[in-house]
Amino acid sequence: MGKAIELSRSLRMSRRRVLKIRYPWATLLLIFLILFTMAPLLTLILGSFSSSTEIGEFKDFGLQNYARAYLRQSTLVILGNTLGLTVGSVLLGVTLAVAMAWLVERTNIPCKGIMYAAIPITLAIPGVLHAISWIFLFSPRMGYVNRWLMNAFDLSAAPFNTYTLQGMIILEALRVVPTSFLLMVPLFRNMDTSLEEAAAVSGAGPFSRLRRITLPVVSSGIIAVLIYETITVLETFEIPGILGLPARIYVFSTKIYAVTQGLETPDYGQANALAMAYILMAAVGVILYARATRRAERFAVITGRGYRPKLLDLGWWRYAAVGVAGLYLTLTLVLPLLVLFWTSLLPYPALPTEKSLALVSLDNYRTIAIYGATWKVLKNTALMVAATAVGTIVLSFLISWILVRTRFWGRRLLDMLAFLPRSIPGIVKALALIWIFLVLRPYFPIYGTVWLISLGFIMSFIAYGTRAVTASLLQIHHELEEAAYISGATQLVTFRRIHFPLLVPTFVGLGIWSMFLSVRLTGLPLMLYEGAENQVLSVFIWMMWDDGQMGAVSGLGVLTILFLFLVAVVMRRMGFREVGGHR
């Protein structure tokens, strides 16, 4: 009895000690996060009312920027394009992903192993390269597929046009699939199947069960995925940038980019005003997503271990289903890689003919090797990726720790602040960062470096990082650390010996996820690009494309995709743990 009282007192003391020590840190972190998240937002808001054309200067406040941005018909067109692209690609992509997740989890479709492996691997293709490869394939004039079809069937006009809103929607939808698939697979795998079985016993057919039982059961998960993808597509830049700009089809992200890239003074005021509508749309999505996922993630439990529901026999339909999955993989993986490889062997894009075969050489790969900037770009990219991954992990861990392991008064605020930057799309965030860090340059000289790009990415990534680490921390029971404290272990030792080993898979997953994402995204680093010192791979590819180095950019694309495939395969073999998923 005496021992029990002593133990209880010791536990109380150790908890008190933990709380006492952590509160000052938590307060500091809260202050840091307030600055970290609110400063860009305030800058954008102030900038949207300022008439100054100088960055970092606020004067003559008024509504002139809003008038310039919104009192013109073209803004309505841009709004329509943005909504069209977002709604169209999310609905199409998520539907396809739900169908494929259901097929691999709940039916007897063949080739499941290939689908499990190949669909997530399509995540490794950067958006810029996807868009470029689609120009080579589906451009109405030079597109290889169009020209082949026109020659083969004697068509007078090209059947496909990738430079349209519809073309952008289809490609963006295909890019929505892998993340949505990864998010949907666990839902189908872990759902309680007793209702389906009861329906089957009652005589309901397979498709009736799918429609009346399965889909309603996973509907809340599907809604979360829909909201998540909506936020993601809303800020997408790569596809509308490569496919939309040549056809003058603007969405908010490309319009903001365009008004800051003019040959005259960049119109940052108008860009800020445009950003407000953008932020508003994204903020609604983020709030809805946070609500939809908060409870689910906190109380996620692994169920059905070792349980295998009876698989639905699709009969002959299973071959049609494989055909759809095969078409998806052909369009997103096989054809892009093939067309980039072929183009990388030529001095200019050309259909495979006798004449073009004579032009085949490895010159473009030689160009990449001797292209002065290549090695610096790779070094910059490696630094940026590493800093982003480490920053995201550390910050996510600290926030999650305070949320889960302390009773700090500002926990809810901290949670909200971690999510807030997600509502600022990358290109808009870059706008704010330019503004802030140009002013701070004399005191804090990270403008024009890769560190600022990392900072921008970390701001975006901690929303999901915090969710992932919080979920993992919740699964580590207090008893473990209490036992360590009773045994005399210090906080640091407890973290090193108890928490760290248990959190390693989550940290690794979060790191890989950050890495893929920071290599794939172009909008933020492109806006922050200032020269050789902060040029990263995605910007390099963008610039080479714009420069007309089509063969070299294709070669670089092939090498990048193969490298990222390799990383993905190695990680998969090492048991890479999914953390929320992201495109």
Binding site: I55, R72, Q73, S74, S139, R141, M142, R147, L245, P246, R248, Y250, K255, A258, T260, Q261, G262, L263, E264, T265, P266, P347, Y348, P349, A350, L359, T367, I370, Y371, G372, A373, L438, R441, P442, G448, Y529, E530, G531, A532, E533, Q535, M543, W545, D546, D547, G548, Q549, M550
Partner: protein, 363 residues
């Protein structure tokens, strides 16, 4: 600037060209080259201490590597950190940093319409001390801080597999023929390097009709630059690319691509400028580089490597891309884009407003 003044400038430019043509292919003598490169000794000493130079320009890194190979032979103690800088970086980001007193580069080239902003912000270094400064005619300079270092003819390139020689346009208006509907593609620099000089050469009315005609004839107004446009042209994305420099087209022509270049009348001409930043961290290395690239030696190497036309008086009349370039441009009225024209070409200029309306659909 009025038409008379433009005509006067053109007359001077053409006479300089003709006089150098008359001089024939006589290369500058070794003594003359040495004289151009004879810089004060303390410049060399100070440049040695600096040891570095940050250069923002538009050549590909391979081209710049080849150019620098020769530069290093002269000045092995200067290490050039080269960036092929995007327009936004050259026009705006360097200017922002210069305004803050810490420019991110020592030298920048091709800033066109941003020149006024650089001058107004007093960010540019004086170049009049350069030995080579006096070699150039006033028309090649703007004030005391900007000087031309290359010349480009901006006309059109066409796909030889899709357009036969007999169908080639003779005037810009010929491109408005309905059979070329949707087949003419303008690139992202068209309004700056093509429309601007045409506006001044053809006059507002004729240019307005021309541009509105292109709008009606469904011309493509694309966002790629001229380099990308000429490759897309080779791939069959459109039949005509406007504006394309002769050296740009020659690159694909040489690679046996289905592309050729045609000079139409009037022929827009652009002079690319080179400038040093006043508060650059390597001012003496910058002086040495600019002086060298403007010298006969630097100009010849630059032209040989890039194919772009040099501006050095002793190199006029020599072709560095199409061997028959002189023949191609013979008899064409040159529409030179001057620094004044560049600086007056803002968003409030009627020409830009027209472009905004037709090409960008009011965006």
């Amino acid at each position: 600037m009025n038409a008379d003044k433009i005509t006067a400038i053109l007359t001077v430019v053409v006479s300089v060209l003709l006089s150098t043509l008359a001089a024939g292919a006589n290369p500058a003598s070794a003594q003359a080259v040495d004289a151009e490169l004879a810089v004060p000794k303390d410049w060399l000493e100070k440049a040695k201490v600096e040891g570095k130079l940050i250069l923002y320009s538009t050549e590909t890194p391979q081209q710049q590597t080849a150019i620098l190979k020769q530069f290093y032979k002269r000045y092995p103690f200067i290490m050039v950190d080269y960036t092929k800088a995007a327009t936004d970086v050259r026009y705006h980001k360097l200017l922002q940093s210069a305004r803050q007193g810490a420019p991110i580069a020592d030298i920048v080239t091709g800033i066109g319409g941003a020149l006024k902003a650089y001058i107004d912000a007093q960010t540019l270094a004086e170049l009049t001390e350069l030995p080579v400064w006096r070699v150039y005619a006033d028309e090649m300079k703007y004030g005391t801080t900007s000087i031309a270092f290359r010349k480009r003819y901006y006309s059109l390139a066409y796909n030889t597999e899709r357009v036969s020689k007999k169908d080639l346009p003779k005037t810009w208006e010929d491109l408005l023929n309905p059979k070329w509907s949707g087949e003419v593609a303008f690139n992202s620099i068209a309004h700056a390097v093509w429309l601007n000089p045409l506006w001044h050469s053809l006059g507002p009315e004729r240019t307005r009709k021309l541009i509105e005609g292109f709008g009606r004839n469904k011309a493509q107004f694309r966002t790629e630059g001229a380099d990308a446009a000429v490759r897309l042209l080779a791939a069959g994305e459109f039949n005509f690319a406007v504006p394309v420099s002769e050296y740009n087209a020659h690159e694909i022509f040489r690679a046996r691509g289905p592309v050729d270049w045609l000079a139409l009348d009037p022929l827009p001409v652009g002079l690319g400028n080179i400038l040093a930043m006043k508060k650059g961290t390597h001012p003496f290395a910058a002086k040495l580089y600019i002086n060298w690239i403007l010298s006969y030696e630097g100009q010849e190497i630059y032209a040989n490597v890039t194919g772009a036309n040099p501006v050095h008086p002793s190199l006029q009349g020599k072709s560095f891309n199409f061997p028959d370039l002189a023949q191609r441009i013979k008899g064409k009225k040159l529409a030179l884009r001057t620094a004044e024209m560049e600086m007056g070409w803002g968003k409030d200029h009627p020409g830009m407003k027209l472009w905004q309306k037709i090409a960008l659909g009011g965006l």
